[in-house]
């Protein structure tokens, strides 16, 4: 019996889900299904050729160096105690509010996003700093880990952003405008997240118990003086970027270095701290990249199976009506985002969707904001949600993947609201760019 390429692709995706549910590590599952699928489509030598070349080409990549570096920075900041001080101060100021620390973490991510170009890197940098501290304060682990995983996605919405750069190159639209366009949607997302956290903790205070803070205003101000190490770290990174010292990719290594120097100056750096931090960063990188490389292989397989044509047929007549096209695009992004990494999602979708959006004369800056929003959502959705995996790899074995995915669920509800707002009020994305020139 002959199978069509599409039948092979659908069977492969079914097998993938089964393998993941049987707890085969996600990376292995992606690899095996992708390679097996390619072998079925094109023969074993093509499959072997993919193994021979793709993993090396993926890893040997400058832009990705920000990920191990921000993981290292986060681990150093945590293990040397740099991050304790911030959370001590955050406790003084926000601890009395329900879910105050989670709200503080949410906005810390938004601030850090202004320095980092990638969502995984943002989650990596703040995950290790904030989740253990929230646990100490008695926060629900689903809430704390979900907050960082989700707020980490602001990394790509708030400029600078690798995702916008890639989109800009594909769509041939101004990246400066895309960057500006991402600001309000990013802040909007952070704001809605914050409201949701506060509301949930009001209803159920055990999620993020308000702490009893008996401090005078002056005492609170004095507590700020210990915050300097982390402030120096963040200011150094943001200043380094906007002052033209480092590129967004170099900011990772620079941040890690500054964290090492600060902890050294504070006398908190020793061989133990260094070893633990390096091993954490190392294991985190290897785990995340093993999955990401698998996702790239799956992208190749889907492309070979003719995903583009399939999606084109799927969108079909919907492509004539703006709202229907947006809806179809949304569905495509949500499904692709479940399984693929951001780059894979962009590669498979843009060659198909860009011409359709252009044909309807829809604004490509606005579409860019939507696309980035969707690939951010893909970082949070099971089974392959890279931001969730990042948090999983920084919090360690005590917390299960399901707990984090569950914690992210509430944030995904917020994302639905954000997407609706972005779709029906394009001004949110286009107001700031329209002020340029």
């Amino acid at each position: 019996m002959e199978f069509t390429d599409l039948q092979i692709a659908f069977s492969a995706m079914g097998i993938l889900l089964v393998l993941i549910a049987l707890r085969l590590p996600v990376g292995f599952a992606l690899f095996i299904v992708a390679v097996g699928g390619v072998a079925a489509l094109k023969g074993w030598d093509v499959a072997a050729g993919m193994i021979r070349n793709e993993p090396f080409d993926f890893a040997a990549h400058w832009s990705f160096s920000a990920i191990p570096m921000f993981l290292l920075m986060g681990a150093v900041a945590h293990n040397s105690g740099i991050s304790n001080s911030l959370f001590y101060a955050a406790r003084c100021w926000f601890g009395g509010l329900p879910g105050g620390l989670a709200v503080a973490t949410n906005f810390a991510c938004a601030g850090f996003a202004a320095a980092s170009g990638s969502s995984t890197a943002t989650a990596a940098a703040l995950g290790k700093i904030s989740v253990p501290e929230m646990s100490k304060a008695g926060y629900d682990i689903g809430l704390s880990s979900g907050t960082v995983a989700s707020a980490g996605t602001l990394g790509a919405m708030i400029p600078p952003s690798i995702a916008f750069v890639l989109y800009g190159i594909f769509a041939e639209v101004s990246i400066s405008k895309l960057f500006i366009a991402g600001v309000l949607p990013g802040l909007l997302t952070a704001g809605i997240y914050a409201l949701m956290i506060i509301a949930r903790c009001k209803v159920n205070p055990s999620l993020g118990p308000p702490l009893e803070i008996k401090m005078s205003f002056m005492e609170k101000v004095i507590a700020l003086k210990d915050v300097w190490p982390l402030l120096v770290l963040i200011v150094a990174i943001i200043g380094g970027l906007y002052g033209g010292l480092v590129t967004p990719t170099e900011a990772g290594a620079f941040g890690a270095f500054v964290a090492v120097v600060i902890s050294f100056l504070q006398g908190r750096m020793n061989l133990r701290v260094l070893k633990d931090s390096v091993l954490e960063a190392l294991a985190g990188t290897a785990k995340i990249f093993w999955v990401a490389i698998g996702a790239v292989m799956l992208t190749r397989f889907l492309a070979m199976a003719g995903a583009e044509d399939f999606l084109k047929d799927l969108v079909g007549s919907w492509a004539a009506e703006p709202l229907l096209l947006v809806l179809a695009a949304s569905l495509i992004y949500i499904v692709l985002g479940m399984f693929l990494d951001p780059l894979g999602v962009l590669l498979l979708s843009l060659p198909l969707l860009l011409p359709m959006f252009e044909a309807l004369d829809l604004n490509l800056i606005w579409f860019g904001v939507l696309v980035v929003k969707y690939i951010e959502i893909g970082l949070l959705t099971p089974p392959v949600g890279l931001n969730v995996y990042v948090i999983k790899s920084v919090v360690g074995p005590e917390v299960s993947l399901e707990t984090i995915f569950k914690g992210v669920g509430w944030f995904l509800v917020c994302e639905v609201l954000v997407v609706l707002l972005l779709v029906f009020f394009p001004q949110i994305s286009l107001f700031l760019p329209s002020m340029m020139q």
């Binding site: 094109k42 030598d45 093509v46 050729g49 993919m50 021979r52 070349n53 793709e54 080409d57 400058w62 832009s63 600078p160 690798i162 750069v165 890639l166 800009g168 190159i169 594909f170 769509a171 041939e172 639209v173 101004s174 990246i175 400066s176 970027l241 906007y242 002052g243 033209g244 010292l245 480092v246 590129t247 967004p248 990719t249 170099e250 992208t299 190749r300 492309a303 070979m304 583009e308 590669l347 498979l348 843009l350 060659p351 860009l354 011409p355």
Partner: protein, 362 residues
């Protein structure tokens, strides 16, 4: 039966796709030869092209020799000599003549990978795109310039500081000042999001990276064609090359200049002094390319380089005699005005190269 797949990594709207490959796919389709263009790196990235087409992940692709210099050690000599010629029209003609007619080693580089080189193209006429005001070559001294390979040596010659940087970091870096200039064609103002950050362009129109594989095909897939199909494919190549080089790159150059004008970017043409430096620099480049190739155990690198140098001279004359430069100088950014130039160039490719080869005996 199934369409063959042409896979490459350039974005769907890149001018190579728009002007070169999409019309080619249509033309061949009309003549009963089915091809499907898969863009944007879905199947493989630039680096993966040689292996990807070799193992038939796709039946054809676009090859950048720099990414495969060890496999294409003879053919790469031509690309490595990017600083010896003035523009892509000349260099691309000379590259085709050298590779296809005079350098069996170059063609064998591709054969060894299970490939066949059917058409190439060249890009270039390089400039310095800078965030500061650079109007003469002395302004370059001490500036940090994003370069690769031979362009880096040229930047050094001008006393600039070559910096390696990924193209994805480059737009931010030029905006914030991590680098001062980008060594590249003026057309990059259009293809990369840098136009807001650039203040001046020092346009010296020197150098052209040629020998790019515009249509490199899997050998078995090619062998499966009938003689008639092979001829149809072959006959479609010169037009594809002309459209890619003229309508695509020259056209983008014109549009970029228009963009520059609108943005108030100052474009300065270089003077005689810079040409002197260039003439001196060229000599060292030939020796270096030969040395690089010898390091990789290439056979007869000197003779390949010599042939290419001679062909560049020859094509300088061919292009001048054809009146191409006039046809381009009179063109406006509307692409139709390039139609004449494109037709002339296609004719030159046929006359000097494609008519001299029997595609059934490749």
């Amino acid at each position: 039966d199934k369409a063959y797949v042409y896979g490459q990594w350039l974005p769907p709207k890149h001018n190579v796709n728009l002007w070169g490959l999409k019309p080619l796919v249509k033309e061949l389709g009309d003549k009963g030869i089915k091809w499907k263009l898969v863009t944007g790196g879905q199947l493989f990235k630039a680096k993966g092209t040689l292996k990807g087409v070799g193992n038939r992940t796709a039946e054809a692709g676009l090859v950048v020799p720099s990414y495969h210099r060890t496999q294409l050690k003879h053919a790469f000599i031509i690309s490595d000599l990017l600083m010896i010629g003035r523009n892509e029209l000349i260099m691309n003609g000379a590259a085709h003549e050298t590779m296809m007619l005079e350098c069996p080693e170059c063609m064998n580089d591709y054969k060894r990978q299970g490939l066949i080189y059917l058409a190439g193209y060249g890009v270039g006429g390089y400039s310095m795109l800078c965030r500061t005001m650079v109007t003469k070559y002395t302004d370059i001294k001490g500036l940090k310039i994003r370069t690769t390979g031979a362009l880096g040596r040229w930047a050094k010659k001008l006393q600039g500081i070559p910096v390696s940087m990924s193209m994805s970091d480059t737009p931010e870096a030029i905006k914030r000042g991590n680098i001062d200039c980008i060594a590249g064609p003026v057309a990059w103002l259009k293809s990369y999001p840098i136009v807001d950050s650039i203040k001046s362009v020092l346009n010296y129109g020197l150098g052209s990276y040629s020998g790019l594989g515009l249509f490199v095909m899997n050998r078995k897939a090619w062998d499966a064609y009938s003689d008639k199909q092979k001829r149809t494919m072959w006959d479609a190549m010169p037009g594809t090359i002309a459209r890619t080089v003229i309508d695509g790159y020259v056209g983008d150059d014109l549009i970029s200049r228009q963009m520059a004008k609108k943005q108030g970017i100052k474009i300065t043409k270089t003077g005689a002094k810079m040409l002197d430096i260039w003439n001196e620099h060229k000599k060292g480049e030939v020796a270096l390319a030969v040395k690089n190739a010898s390091k990789m155990k290439a056979k007869n690198p000197q003779s390949i380089a010599d042939k290419f140098v001679a062909n560049v001279k020859k094509w300088e004359k061919i292009i001048a005699d054809a009146g191409l430069e006039n046809a381009i100088a009179n063109a406006t950014p509307e692409r139709s005005s390039l139609a004449k130039a494109s037709a002339i160039y296609k004719g030159l490719m046929i006359k000097h190269i494609y008519s001299k080869i029997d595609p059934t005996k490749l």
